[in-house]
């Protein structure tokens, strides 16, 4: 599938990088035609990325590990995909319980937010220890072609 835009970032999954990476994703998405007048959708994509990176940093890699994370962003004709790859501890997405909203605890909302705010949330763990999370959001309006040269 042809990409309108492709970005590849390789980093250490350290929580100190959360905000700079988050803001990069936000600023990028804000500039994409289709997202420019959809601030709430930009908020949602930013939140989903934030939760994904935090999970890799805090849960896949334990606090004293500084494992690698690869972040790829694909802008395609109809959708945006943010993909995170790590080599930390995997989890079974089917074993993640829905939050108990009648008695909400301190944790357990991150994956629910990602699933709620993105159109698709796909997680798989491959042989060799690679975990891949794909966050997919449809581009909100018809204006899907990148207008790189426009002010």
């Amino acid at each position: 599938m042809e990409n309108e835009l492709y970005i590849n970032i390789e980093a250490s999954a350290e929580i100190i990088l959360l905000r700079p990476l988050d803001l990069f994703v936000r600023n990028l998405v804000q500039q994409l035609p289709g997202f420019s007048n959809a601030e709430d959708v930009v908020d949602n994509v930013e939140l989903a990325f934030n939760e994904a990176f935090t999970n890799v940093s805090r849960h896949a890699y334990k606090s004293n590990q500084k494992g690698p994370v690869r972040i790829e962003i694909f802008v395609r004709q109809n959708h945006l995909e943010i993909r995170l790859e790590d080599y930390g501890e995997s989890f079974d997405p089917d074993a993640i319980a829905e939050p108990d909203f009648q008695n909400l605890g301190e944790g357990g909302l991150g994956i629910w937010f990602m699933r709620h705010f993105m159109d698709d949330w796909i997680y798989k763990s491959e042989a060799g220890g690679k975990n891949i999370l794909r966050l997919i959001k449809k581009i909100p309006v018809n204006e899907t072609a990148l207008a790189i040269n426009q002010p």
Binding site: D40, D43, L47, P99, L104, E106, G108, L109
Partner: protein, 109 residues
Amino acid sequence: MEIQQKDGVTVISTDERLDALAAPKLKEAVKKMSEESAAKLVIDLAKTKFIDSSGCGALVASLRTLLKSQGDLKIARPSPQAQTLFQLTRLHRVFEIYDNLDAAIGSFQ
């Protein structure tokens, strides 16, 4: 994060982001407060443009910590993004939320 006292109420004003980096600092500050019995706290979210699951979790943990020591917590001036998350997670039923800081402080009187 700024901490002030007003009319016997502690006001914690959170920074622009209440995320996995800021959440532990908020919980730590509230834990210290809870050592004092019946602490009255307003968390002012006016400057906070972005909150995530760690931020929501820190607010829940803070409320529980204070309730255990007969204290209480109110929330003031959440952003539209925070309000969206509170409604989705039904936290708007758990917290007393005010649009106005003085009203949040005054609610303890």
